[in-house]
Amino acid sequence: MLDVKKVRGGNGLDPIGAEVDEILASAEEAARVATKSFFDSFQTDPNPAALATWLETRVWREIDYVYLLNDQIRRYGMRLQRKHITLLAKQSFQEAEHYEDLGRVLENLGGTVPTAVPAQAQEWSDWLWDCMGRHHLAGIAAWYVSETSASGSFEPTFEGCGRHGYTDVVKCYKQIEIDEKFHTGLGRQILSTYTQTDEDRAEILRAMRGMQKIAWKTFTPENVAASMAARATPAAAAN
């Protein structure tokens, strides 16, 4: 398997390359551990509603990426080579496909496809958009970490869902796994190509470090339990 972190492009990340790779590795591992933890918990109580809740924030990420990528093009696109505008648009299209496909899976599990930021994804979404507003490369840096962290979740997801016969989830994530190679490769290439100044690098590291602290959180069983409890509370009060 080829390593998309080594994609060709400029050398703008070279001074911070080691730290960037360390952040990515750490984010990926944190997501792997959190996902494994969720499916270990799911193994003891395989409630489809829990899996649906776990997927909910992930479904939201897909559509939030669509908004973000289109805004990236709208706000900063004229600083980019035309091929990068095309590739960002292509990524946006694929994220929309993921939103649709994962949404269908979520509905099959009895869940509801989010049309607004779920509470558990609020911190993640806020950080993404905060970075986007600050700097022309910071939004990309944040989603680069977020997408890379998702890579860590694939194997535990395949294993955990496969064990319980959720083949549609596995199939969906198999395609997402393929597309994530493109997305993370593109993120790296854009950052390497357009990063020029120390200020650029500082903003990129800020965005990446911030996302590193957040990205894994929605994968945990605790996060899922909190979401389910929050949903149950108003209903209980109504009774």
């Binding site: 080829l2 060709r8 492009g9 590739l87 190679k181 490769g185």
Partner: protein
């Protein structure tokens, strides 16, 4: 050999078979009879089928099945000792012996015998191999046929005894040292309607047959080459030819067309995502030819190895690319 595509079959069935017998069929051709060690019946096949033979030296070669297609106890292939061999035929002649096991995949058939009112079979050299079971089939169905079989010399022409069994005045043997080249005009110019022409042999023979048959209905001529059409230079317009080693298929990649698209159009599913040389998910192994790397991902060492390519953007510097597909 390069097969005329008619049946696309990507499903690989691999068998470990034993060499039951080797037979010298001419001064440069040896046949191998292959079977299961426990006597289980072999998969069915029809005339025109071939198998992939995975040799111990790592090479994969395609050979036509040339035995009795009704006999499920054994398959027969025949191998020409080719001085210009890239390792396949030399290896078999030097190293394969009775009792050895070899891995094969298939059979597959890209050269099937269609129903016709009559047949004209034209074989050159080892190109007789896919034709042999066709003679059997045509004889069994009572379909009239004519065979024109050429070779360097009578001693180089394999399976003459088999062929004589079918001969009722419809077999024309043309050893070049006695008769010169096959007079194609003689056999093709007065062809009766509804005759299917089957041709297998070296490239120049097939090129000549194609030239004579230019005015024939498109479905009348069926041919199978030992090797892809030889192109001596890269076309000026950037088009090139791809040979798929596992099936022997040859695909033309037009100027402006991506290799990945050409493979997809030919029915091959290749994992991909970006189609821009970034994600690496469409990576394919290269067995021959010189890739023209246009991607953004392969390292210098990977590029220089010449063993891999990202077909979404990369092309070919040589006239032909051979893929492990």
């Amino acid at each position: 050999m390069c097969a005329e595509p008619s049946v696309l079959d990507n499903i690989e069935t691999t068998h470990s078979l034993q060499v039951l017998q080797t037979t010298t069929e001419s001064d440069s051709v040896v046949s191998l009879e292959l079977g299961t060690s426990d006597g289980r019946p072999m998969p069915e096949w029809q005339p025109g089928a071939h198998i992939d033979v995975m040799l111990a030296n790592g090479l994969v070669r395609q050979y036509s099945l040339c035995g009795n297609y009704a006999d499920r106890s054994r398959w027969r292939i025949a191998v020409l000792r080719d001085p210009s061999s890239r390792g396949g035929s030399q290896f078999i002649h030097a190293s394969v012996r009775t009792g050895q096991r070899i891995q094969v995949a298939g059979p597959r058939n890209h050269f099937p015998l269609i129903a016709a009112e009559r047949y004209l079979f034209i074989a050159g050299g080892i190109g007789i191999t896919p034709i042999l079971p066709m003679l059997q089939k045509a004889s069994e169905t009572g379909t009239p046929w004519t065979l024109v079989y050429g070779g360097r010399s009578r001693s180089s022409m394999a399976f003459l005894d088999n062929i004589r069994r079918y001969d009722s005045g419809n077999v024309f043997l043309i050893p070049q040292d006695e008769c010169g080249h096959i007079d194609l005009e003689r056999f093709l110019s007065r062809l009766r309607p509804q005759t299917a022409v089957y041709c297998c042999g070296p490239g120049p023979l097939i090129d000549a047959v194609e030239t004579v048959c230019q005015t024939f209905p498109p479905a009348a001529l069926h041919r199978e080459r030992f090797s892809p059409r030889q192109r001596t230079e890269v076309a000026d317009d950037g088009s090139f030819e791809v040979m798929l080693a596992k099936s022997g298929r040859v695909i033309q990649v037009a100027a402006g067309e991506s290799l990945l698209s050409a493979l997809e159009d030919a029915g091959y599913k290749v994992t991909n995502s970006c189609r821009a040389g970034i994600c690496g998910t469409c990576l394919l192994n290269v067995l021959g030819g010189t890739p023209d790397h246009q991607d953004d991902l392969l390292s210098d060492d990977q590029r220089e190895s010449g063993t891999m390519i990202l077909p979404c953007v990369s092309r070919c510097k040589s006239s032909q690319l051979i893929l492990d597909l």
